[in-house]
């Protein structure tokens, strides 16, 4: 049985190019395809030389890979973006309020809007964060919200990445690459700038400095090290912000403050933009085997002597089980309906839902509640009978570990191939910066694209690529 599905293409409609793409399309038509192919190869060489790579876990032979870059931009009109921006801002605000509530009075649990059991059984919930408010009240300094589109006006949030979202370096590098490859394009089409992101990130982190910070806040980026899959991004962001990139063993506690080992001795650190997971942050409090964190940092944190961005314990808000409650969470804290819709989600922990999911596995996408990166998920329509049967057993064994969603008809944007333009499915991850009094969202974000024809999995670890994302000035 093959279902003929039609997908919303963001570039072309029956009546020709959609409005945001009109100028681009006429430029594209005037281009020589051979020259574009050369440009595309040039871009790949540029990425290799400059070392814009990511590491893939479990692939020893191909330790560092490029994320393929496609030269056709993904274009959003100004009006489309304004709506997305408002929606993301609302959601990010609600997530911060939710986290503050969860770790303090827990009104939302008492009101029965979110079941308390979901929190009690959640590994991402950190009791060590109870009755404590992070500096400036900010939990999620950086959020990457995954958004998919299915129609002209149909945007859905697929996931809230509230822990340590990655990918922003590709947003910045993709724009730089496009500017280098096609400078003339940017003089013809006015695109909103994303290049202020590093400056804004630094300002946002500095604005969240701890109460006991004296003088100008000293910010560092904490990385697990060069073997981490996102190391390139860590060093890129530190470099672009003009701050130091440190590892756990560079830090220690000196006189009740976190300090970094420099060639002139130890220097106090005020803000840590950490790219290590909660479990590795403090071996005294969490995983005792961790070599990546700083022993005792949680005590310093609770004493108001350091800012950790994002705060420990924010993962509870981007859990896929919590996700299904997000529209209620938004309403509970903002008093408004959610501007961005959720994808319909079946919680397999609930018997009726589980039955429905088991009966419809071939049509659904099933995800692990705590999974990420496209690992451990089932894409029903793309899976073989054997894969579905195997997954059915896993699901029955631990139903609470899974949620299921309908297979979305993700929108497509064309990619450049030797045979011309070819539609491929995309998603979008805008990046929001949260400071105590301001939320700043870079116009656009990271567009990930499934390069295989028909594929719906856009993750870079699964063969996805990226595109430059344009938000038009007007």
């Amino acid at each position: 049985m093959t279902k003929k599905q039609t997908f919303f293409d963001e570039m072309s409609s029956a009546a020709g190019a959609r409005a945001p793409y009109r100028s681009y399309e006429s430029w594209f038509k005037s281009q020589d395809v051979t020259r574009l192919a050369q440009k595309s190869a040039e871009a790949e060489r540029f990425f290799r030389r400059t070392g814009i790579t990511f590491n893939v876990y479990g692939q020893a032979d191909a330790e560092e890979r490029l994320i393929p870059f496609d030269l056709v931009p993904r274009i959003l009109s100004n009006a489309e973006w304004r709506k997305l921006e408002r929606g993301v801002e609302q959601r990010v605000r609600a997530i911060n309020a939710f986290l503050h509530d969860l770790y303090n009075r827990q009104e939302i649990l008492r009101a029965g809007v979110v079941p308390a059991s979901l929190i009690a059984n959640n590994d991402a919930f950190l009791p060590q964060m109870m009755d404590f408010t992070p500096p400036g009240g900010v939990y999620t300094h950086i959020v990457g919200t995954d958004i998919v589109r299915t129609g002209e006006d149909e945007f859905f949030v697929l996931e809230d990445n509230a822990r340590t979202p990655s990918g922003v370096s590709y947003m910045l590098e993709n724009r730089e690459t496009m500017l280098q490859m096609f400078p003339e394009l940017f003089s013809q089409i006015k695109v909103q700038r994303v290049s202020d992101y590093p400056k804004n990130l630094r300002a946002s982190l500095e604005a969240s400095a701890p109460p006991n910070c004296e003088g100008h806040p000293f910010v560092v980026v904490l990385t697990p090290g060069i073997h981490n899959s996102a190391y390139y991004e860590h060093s890129f962001l530190a470099d672009q912000m003009g701050v130091e990139l440190v590892e756990g063993h560079d830090l220690r506690i000196v006189d009740g403050r976190i300090a970094v080992r420099t060639t002139r001795g130890y220097r106090t650190v005020d803000v840590i933009y950490r790219r290590v997971d909660d479990a590795f942050l403090d071996p005294l409090t969490f995983n005792p085997q961790s070599m990546l964190g700083v022993p005792g940092i949680m005590d310093i944190y609770r004493a108001g002597n350091i800012t950790i961005a994002n705060a420990p314990g924010t993962g509870v808000a981007d859990d896929k089980a919590i996700y299904s409650y997000m529209p209620d969470i938004v309403e509970f804290y903002t008093g408004e309906r959610a501007i961005l819709k959720n994808v319909e989600t079946h919680r397999c922990s609930e018997p009726d839902s589980l039955k429905y999911v088991l009966d419809n596995l071939a049509d659904l996408v099933v995800k692990e509640v705590h999974g990420s990166g496209g690992y451990g998920m089932l894409v029903g329509p793309a899976a073989s009978k054997a894969e579905i049967a195997a997954f059915r057993e896993k699901l029955k064994a631990r139903p609470a570990n899974y949620i299921a969603q309908p297979t979305l008809s993700l929108s497509t944007v064309p990619i450049f191939t030797e045979k011309g333009l070819a539609p491929r499915h995309v998603d979008l991850r805008p990046f929001a910066l949260v400071a105590p009094n301001e939320i700043n969202i870079a116009p656009g974000g990271l567009t990930r694209v499934a390069l295989t024809e028909g594929s719906l999995v856009v993750n870079s670890s699964q063969g996805g690529g990226t595109k430059d994302t344009w938000v038009l000035e007007s």
């Binding site: 070392g51 060069i226 060093s235 130091e244 590892e247 560079d250 080992r261 420099t262 060639t263």
Partner: protein
């Protein structure tokens, strides 16, 4: 700057220097085995001995052939000093200290790693060895040029240069130490065939056969070669030259940071042991003893730099 960053820069440039020195050494061996020798195995053995890796080599290979030696020194992953290993380490260090490097330096190092990984992915056949060695030297020159042309002259730069000159001084001293028996003036050797081959090998392994002729204007003899390698401040691989640069880089760091500098004191003492000497007094002291002490001094300066600038803790 971070102590770890200073350490990363220092070791990155030690690695790059080591790769270049290894390439020079193989080049010397290759040239001599090819053109001068009646016993190539012994010439290749001498290359391994000079690189101070005889035991490791013999554990892995049973014959001193050009292929075995070039594989071991260029490509062997289990040899931490093989060109491929040190370039990989240097590039890892460059990634570690990425924020301290200009894009040009980073790209030069990254490209060096890409070019050499590709070039050395299989055994290099003898006829292609000269081009491969040339590529290694060219890539080092590229990194050096990027460093020289684009980096601020601050602590970052000084740590890079210290890595280069500590490694180079150590390398030159070790070459002299291994060959000291050939460099000792002894009437029975003078003019013999063996003598000339040995001396040429020494000069070639520090790429000095040409500069020596220009600078010394005299025929090879044990005393003037040794003097050139240890005492000549014009030759960029001599101990005198390296010691001078080390004291300069450490002085600049002290000026930038203020206060006392233990490593500068050690470097000044080391430089004094070189610049005020003449070669005869070194022979009187004993060349082997003198060079052994120099190797220890260089290592001690390195250790002091690491401690003073908190590379580790």
């Amino acid at each position: 700057m971070l102590g770890k960053t200073a350490g990363g820069l220092y070791w990155m440039f030690r690695g790059l220097e080591r790769a270049e020195n290894t390439a020079r050494l193989i080049e010397a061996g290759f040239r001599i085995a090819l053109t001068r020798s009646t016993d190539p195995a012994s010439d290749w053995r001498s290359v391994i001995v000079t690189s101070a890796q005889q035991a490791a080599f013999e554990a892995k290979y049973d014959a001193y052939t050009s292929q075995n030696v070039s594989n071991f020194l260029l490509r062997e992953p289990s040899n931490p000093s093989s060109v491929l290993s040190v370039i990989k380490t240097a590039r890892d260090n460059a990634r570690l200290v990425r924020t301290a490097l200009t894009t040009e330096v980073w790209v030069a190092v990254n490209e060096t790693w890409m070019v050499l990984t590709d070039l050395l992915k299989e055994t290099v056949p003898d006829p292609e060895l000269p081009q491969a060695l040339e590529a290694i030297r060219q890539q080092s020159a590229l990194v050096r040029g990027a460093l020289y042309g684009t980096m601020l002259r601050n602590d970052v730069y000084n740590f890079c240069r210290l890595g280069t000159f500590i490694e180079r001084a150590d390398s030159t001293a070790r070459i002299i130490d291994v060959k000291y028996h050939a460099l000792l003036p002894s009437p029975s050797y003078v003019g013999s065939k063996l003598d000339n081959v040995q001396w040429e090998m020494v000069l070639r392994s520090v790429s000095a056969h040409r500069s020596f002729r220009h600078a010394v204007q005299d025929d090879y003899n044990a005393s003037n070669i040794t003097e050139f390698l240890i005492l000549d401040p014009r030759f960029p691989r001599s101990l005198a030259f390296c010691a001078k640069r080390i004291t300069e880089n450490l002085s600049e760091l002290r000026n930038e940071y203020g206060g006392e500098s233990e490593s500068l004191d050690a470097a000044l003492a080391f430089h004094a042991r070189i610049k005020d000497r003449d070669i005869n007094s070194i022979f009187e002291e004993g060349l082997h003893e003198y060079i052994s002490q120099a190797i220890l001094d260089i290592a001690a300066i390195g250790t002091r730099i690491e401690a003073q600038y908190r590379f580790i803790n």
